[in-house]
């Protein structure tokens, strides 16, 4: 990315400073998309594919899920028609932005045989600069979490991809049936950490967007976009959108002392009960925007002259994940579900100083048997009498 000026001027002559707010007419949205392309970005965002809203390349506005919404419940996801032409009138789909920042398969290095030895070349970290169009508040939080994880491990590929990315957030106009970001403190309002934030306004017969500038990089792509200063009614309407979404959250999670609650109850009967339903299929970990576990593979070519080291997403629900001397440490499904949920909601605090959950609800929606972690936590909380010494003092 080239250096960006601290401020930029829109065609209207308006000052595009960080924190400034403007109105973009729906009819000018194609010019906004074009401006992102002109700035050298590849725009990726929501598209309809295979009956779901997933993330893919956006070439023109008709690629967006215009007029679609999603109906979500535990184990259920259905696309439905809205009674308007909203561009971003859905909650979140099965995919998250980690597919771009932490690809499901990635080459780490290549080795070549040399006389009697070998040479290893680390994978170059160059690649396209993406605009993530339509990042939800919970997804900004998830990206911030993965930033912390991959920074702690010193991952140059992730850092390079992340530095090239421009995040265009969109405030949620609807809450999904499995959403609980409000109780996790990660949404629904975008709370900074974005380059641009859009609020889609559909009322009063006028389709328009409120555009908030979050960074100099965000401001710099708006040069050629026709914007007006945001009016007081538009600002009010935008605030109402977020407030309405917040009030219609499908679920909630009680975070009170949740770290100790889970770490101290490894023998709770609920783990066996959830495991009777859990298929150990790993769907929740694939759909989760913060799950980072992966494995590595050695891939030699047929001649043996070249070898590649790949990493791919892995899951704590797989038996091979903990294999040690020929058998897994976590043999049983209760132990795997306990590991996943305890890590996500409890020991993540020990490791990264915050929860690993952002309340997006994907693990609930995409669980084939509809296991709901908010319900599981509530069940453990309702009967916490089986606490063990874990988390207390040993000896």
């Amino acid at each position: 990315m080239t250096a960006t000026p601290p401020t930029a001027i829109a065609p209207s002559g308006e000052l595009l400073s960080v924190g400034s707010r403007h109105t973009l007419e729906r009819s000018d949205f194609p010019r906004f998309l074009a401006a992102l392309g002109t700035a050298g970005y590849r725009v990726v965002g929501p598209i309809v594919r295979d009956g779901a809203i997933v993330y893919g390349e956006i070439h023109q506005e008709s690629d967006l899920p215009i007029g679609w919404t999603d109906r979500q419940e535990a184990g259920t996801y259905r696309l439905e028609r809205r009674n308007d032409d909203a561009l971003f009138g859905y909650a979140v789909g099965p995919q998250s932005w980690k597919k771009y920042l932490f690809p499901s398969r990635e080459r780490l290095w290549t080795a070549h045989r040399t006389d009697g030895s070998f040479r290893v070349d680390a994978e170059p970290t160059d690649g396209p600069a993406f605009v993530f169009l339509g990042v939800r508040a919970c997804e900004l939080a998830a990206i911030a979490i993965q930033d912390r994880v991959f920074r702690s491990g010193g991952d140059p590929g992730y850092a390079a991809r992340r530095a090239r990315t421009l995040r265009v957030a969109v405030q949620c106009g609807v809450a999904g049936g499995t959403c609980f970001c409000a109780s996790m403190g990660t949404g629904p309002a975008v709370g900074g950490d974005h380059d641009l934030a859009l609020t889609e306004l559909l009322g009063e017969g006028r389709h328009r967007f409120l555009v908030e500038v979050g960074s100099p990089a965000g401001a710099s792509v708006l040069h050629s976009v026709p914007l007006r200063p945001a009016s007081a009614p538009d600002l009010g309407a935008a605030g109402a959108v977020v407030a309405r979404t917040s009030a219609s959250m499908g679920r909630s999670m009680d975070l009170h002392q949740i770290r100790d609650l889970l770490v101290e109850t490894p023998e709770h009967p609920r783990w066996a009960s959830v495991a009777e339903r859990c298929l150990s299929c790993a769907n929740c970990t694939m759909a989760c925007p913060t799950c980072f576990c992966h494995s590595t593979e050695e891939v030699p070519d047929l001649t043996g002259e070249h070898v590649e080291r790949w990493r791919r997403w892995d899951s704590c629900f797989h038996s091979a994940f903990t294999e040690l001397h020929g058998s897994p440490v976590r043999k049983s499904t209760p132990s795997r579900y306990r590991q996943w949920m305890t890590h996500k909601l409890a020991t993540w605090y020990d490791q990264f100083d915050r929860s690993g959950c952002v309340g997006c609800g994907r693990c609930i929606t995409w669980c084939p048997v509809g296991i709901d972690l908010t319900e599981e936590v509530a069940a453990i909380r309702a009967m916490p009498g089986v606490r063990t010494a874990a988390g207390g003092t040993g000896g």
């Binding site: 491990g153 023998e267 992966h294």
Partner: protein, 289 residues
Amino acid sequence: MGANGEPPGPPGIDRPPGIVPVPFEVRSRTGETADTVTLDLAPRERRGPLSFRPGQFNMLYVYGVGEAAISISGDPAAPDRYLHTVRAAGKVSLALSEAAPGGVVGVRGPYGTGWPVRESAGRDVVLVAGGLGLPPLRPALYEILRERSKYGRVELIYGAKTPKDLVYYAEIQGWRQRSDLRFQTTVDTAGRDWYGDVGLVTARLPDVRIEPANTVAFLCGPEIMMKLTAKALVARGVPADAIWLSMERNMKCAVGLCGHCQFGPSFVCRHGPVFRYREIAPFLAVREV
């Protein structure tokens, strides 16, 4: 540091090296048992001097096969003998154990925490090794013996399945001769040609002559062995703060990123492999953590 001093803390965690293996030449391969060898590795291209702390491990790489976590088993004061004792257990360790002198293996590391050896000066030291738990403890023993006068009594208990599974056999004979080190060896099963002890390492514990409140213990071996040994030591009066264990888990990245080695809130590769017993005891008590 004395009986009333704070228990020693772990050596600091350094920033981990990168994930790309560096070619090292196999300088020698010494057979230890039927399935275990010790490799001495030397860098193909001299970079900085080698250094490691006792208890740390490297990721060893066999071209076209893969990587395995192997502890460094040489003397930290003579790191140019870069020793790694490997048992042929899986695909990678089998290939490593077959690496011929002159061959090349990849190395990245060293990783992890180490035994708090210097921090334990002034105390009695009990080392308990089970099976291939002796190689990760040997660097600590070297460090203690080099400055032997700084420590109180030093006791080493080494258990193996059979006499044929004892590693460092020749060196053990030397340790047995020393008057400043009490060395007990025990095996699970033996023939009539074995004159030593038969039984678990915990059966040898009541015999160690230590002042429990001023003792530090380093344990390395199968988890159940370490758990029972730690409990026995605590029962004897050794503080749970002064007992250290080296944990083993599936490892892929060694930099706390792949998630495989998680044990409760810890990444064994970064926060371990050497842990204070008091900190992990609650998790050791739970099955399948």
